[in-house]
Symmetry: C2
Subunit: 594 residues, 2 copies
Amino acid sequence: MVEHSSLDTMFLNKYCPSSSSSSSSSSSSSSDRDGKLLHALRGSLGKKYPQKSGEVLSAQYGLNLLLVGVSLMLALAYQGPSASEETVLAFLSALMLLQLFWMGCYMGRRERRRSAPPERDAHAATSWIKGGLTMLALLSLIMDAFRIGSFVGYQACVSVMLGVYPVVHALHTISQVHFIWFHIKDVIKRYETFERFGVIHAVFTNLLLWSNGVMTEAEHALNDHKKRLAALGYLNFTVGSEEPNCNCTTSACSMFSSSLYYLCPFNIEYHIFVSALLFVMWKNIGRKLDQQTKRKQGSTGGSCLLLGPMLGLLALASSITVLTIYIIHVEESADAREAAISMYYCFGIVILACMSAAGAVGLLIYRVEDWPMDTTPNPARTLDSKLLLGSSVGSWLLSWCSVVAVGGAQSYPSYRWSSLAYALLLVLEKCVQNLFIIESLYRRRLEPGECPPNSPSHREIYSVTATMAPPYDGIINHAFESSDRHREVLQTSKPDNNTFDKTKDVSLPIGLGVKSSPSRKRQVLKNIAIFLFMCNISLWILPAFGCRPQFDNGLEEASFGFPIWSTVLNFALPMSLFYRMHSVAALFEVFRKI
Amino acid sequence: MVEHSSLDTMFLNKYCPSSSSSSSSSSSSSSDRDGKLLHALRGSLGKKYPQKSGEVLSAQYGLNLLLVGVSLMLALAYQGPSASEETVLAFLSALMLLQLFWMGCYMGRRERRRSAPPERDAHAATSWIKGGLTMLALLSLIMDAFRIGSFVGYQACVSVMLGVYPVVHALHTISQVHFIWFHIKDVIKRYETFERFGVIHAVFTNLLLWSNGVMTEAEHALNDHKKRLAALGYLNFTVGSEEPNCNCTTSACSMFSSSLYYLCPFNIEYHIFVSALLFVMWKNIGRKLDQQTKRKQGSTGGSCLLLGPMLGLLALASSITVLTIYIIHVEESADAREAAISMYYCFGIVILACMSAAGAVGLLIYRVEDWPMDTTPNPARTLDSKLLLGSSVGSWLLSWCSVVAVGGAQSYPSYRWSSLAYALLLVLEKCVQNLFIIESLYRRRLEPGECPPNSPSHREIYSVTATMAPPYDGIINHAFESSDRHREVLQTSKPDNNTFDKTKDVSLPIGLGVKSSPSRKRQVLKNIAIFLFMCNISLWILPAFGCRPQFDNGLEEASFGFPIWSTVLNFALPMSLFYRMHSVAALFEVFRKI
């Protein structure tokens, strides 16, 4: 108990070093009042430091951690005198070690208090998400092994940090996966302020590791771009100093460095996913759980999954084909390059049109179905929706830049109009898919004996309980607040019979006409979800492994100039990649839920 | 009633043009089911389109509107062939006209239904915020008048859009201020989906006008920077083509263009403020208001405001002095430049140290006081807190970049260490100020007869109602959830007498020792709020009118390179300016509330 209050004080002192010294200097007239304040403070600080302040304080700590890292990386990107790669790696290693220390403390405390297991948020991370993360973590571990191997080969001429970093990272990955498996669902209610700092430290450490990965990738893509331009004779490109200045003492160095290129995307996705999970854990600290949300959703057997998976596999196979052809042809000649880019856009138009159509059909089914809304508080779901919308911004920006570029283009390559169509379809597809995923996450299946909220039997019940008021208003859309409706009906006091009659007229025939085959509709939705799932994997693979026509087509570069356009790409492409991976996860959730 | 459902359908069709055509093409095997779907859809669409989907759909529309504008502005920044200034101005004018049309529709409908006035959110925009906005709007109108005057002078050689835009902007400003005065508190419950689109359109139109202003300012700052370097002989700078290619036919053109420079910052703040207010209105759509939140907070008379306003006025006066000296000296010679920058940093260190101290004293007072927490739902307050934290990121990034730059600097100007101290104090000051403002917004004053939640009398009541459980847990900080505590106490079933005894021991003497003079503490808090208020105005004035040592000191430019550093500045400085203006508003709110 004493431990807590001293920790709290420690954090305040660490964070506001001037608070004790400055309070006496600023108001010198009333020093005895200050003495009383400080005396009272010492006791009351640990006792009731408000939750909201703990939240704000730890959020500020996390943001500043991120910004320190970002400014170091910016200095590294310029290759100026301020920061070398070792500085950044040392900083990241220190953060990881601190996180390891905190995770150790946390798990040790949990172990000691085995008799009182913490409350758990059932929505926080399903076991298939944990499984997926473990896969990504394994690939990250392989990457670490390759990095260590590469360090051993070049040991003579590279900094020792290049060897320390992968060791720390491997250790960090293993402990973090263990932590996620056993503790990510915990709802922390003890030592809140201390744990808040620990969890937010973990969130932003992973975000920084993600930024570092993204920056490495961006550098790589830029080098690729220059190499391709050099291959076509546009640019005099001398192969940069990516390789160290000494010979490799083992025979596997080139294998290591080429494999790293293919493993890096998985490592990037691993870190961003972990930080989203940890963020939900941070939001859950001190939360009071609803006891009634423990309903288990069993899946109905006998699914008829044929069209969705088949079309999805087709999309996956063709995207891998497109990737291979693109990467080979784009370096060959100007004509082959143009053909490769055209092929990419045509493929994109077809797959995006199919995805938009599938999403629209899903939305139509929701419009005619009367499944109830799930309004229980769920930080994981709220975060999912916000992340989907937020990360769409990246590729929408790319799309609108393409539209502007095509609109004002001075050169007329053959893929001009297909690029325009591709950009517009990309906007449409993400809009439809976001709507579909968010609506799916907020719907819940009907229980066996439950009536849909808008069915005649429900209406009659409402009519009986509230004779003065319309049971369901056609203008005010409260479909998402179904749990409140009963109360609302009882409170409403203004009669509006006109509305009531009209909606009643419209709704009854529909209520009777549509309820023909809910299980068949569910089959359709399941097929749509699995199809979109595989399409999103395809659209992740293409840019993740080097198929980035935004670099190669030249249209946008002519309109925005290379500096602006490469900045936009470095900002938007990582978001776009994250969007695809995140919708893969969300669509799998949707698939299991329907 | 019919109007609504057709509007809803119209939006869905407009937004998802492929939804009706694609549904038949994608699943050709079962066309009669699709027919049934479409038939059912026509009736049910308008009836119960869920609120959440309307929210997501309109958010997506707004985001895409913003991104179209941003990509046009990026193309303009490159001065490539794709976009000219007229394109951007025409786009903005079209958006403003569309917003005018929507506001007209909205006000007309409200006028027709005068008998049923809408519910109002009392927290949405206080009258002093409206007053401040009206001032900013007046300055914007003057700017429009100057722009029109400038257009008349250069009429012969500039595009007609340069004349149309300020006229539309003036019209837009007048109607928008009228709208804000009479309708910003409305909680919309009719035609929800349509109004959602209208409000979000207004939000993002204002955000785009803000971006446009920020871009003009950034260009201006860059030109200033180049001019200063040219004056010192570092750079061969030919005065750019800012002026049109013909002679001004009136005598006031140069007066107009120099005045525009000083009016632009107010116009920028006007637009960002309006979009924040409209965003709260958007969040309020369809919200159910708590009836009990209508408590009026009268201010206690007889305030003793002396130290705070005096110190604040001192800060304001000295910052204007610093601004004048800085702008004159920074163009003179290398030595005068260095002296001016040193002076700026010294002034900054003093003012930031005072502000941190004041904020820390405020936080200390909250730690020893037992004022209850206000936990009523309030979108305006939530947005305020998030905007404060979010906009701090800009200047924190600048600070950490400075720290990295000083850490790795190769040159040693005299202001090196003062720049480091300034950067670190800036981080500290924003952390403390954010904590102070957010805690102040969440506290509420004690009612005359009310006991503080932690006082002995309260404790006894709790002890009587819940003998099994500790009435107030020293480890679990629920101070922000005081309204739930009673319920929680009744639910808790685990006895933890050890904790209970300890906290009781600690809290009782404090409860008795500190409650000496709550009104005196309130006076101190009021003085702190007014002091911070004026300091934030000072720190807004400095960068808004051209005192930007981040451009002139050369330290960061050496570490990050000019392209990266100017990008960082163009991103972070507008956020930093917005932060200051926003804390001014929040601190005034705090001042009134205490």
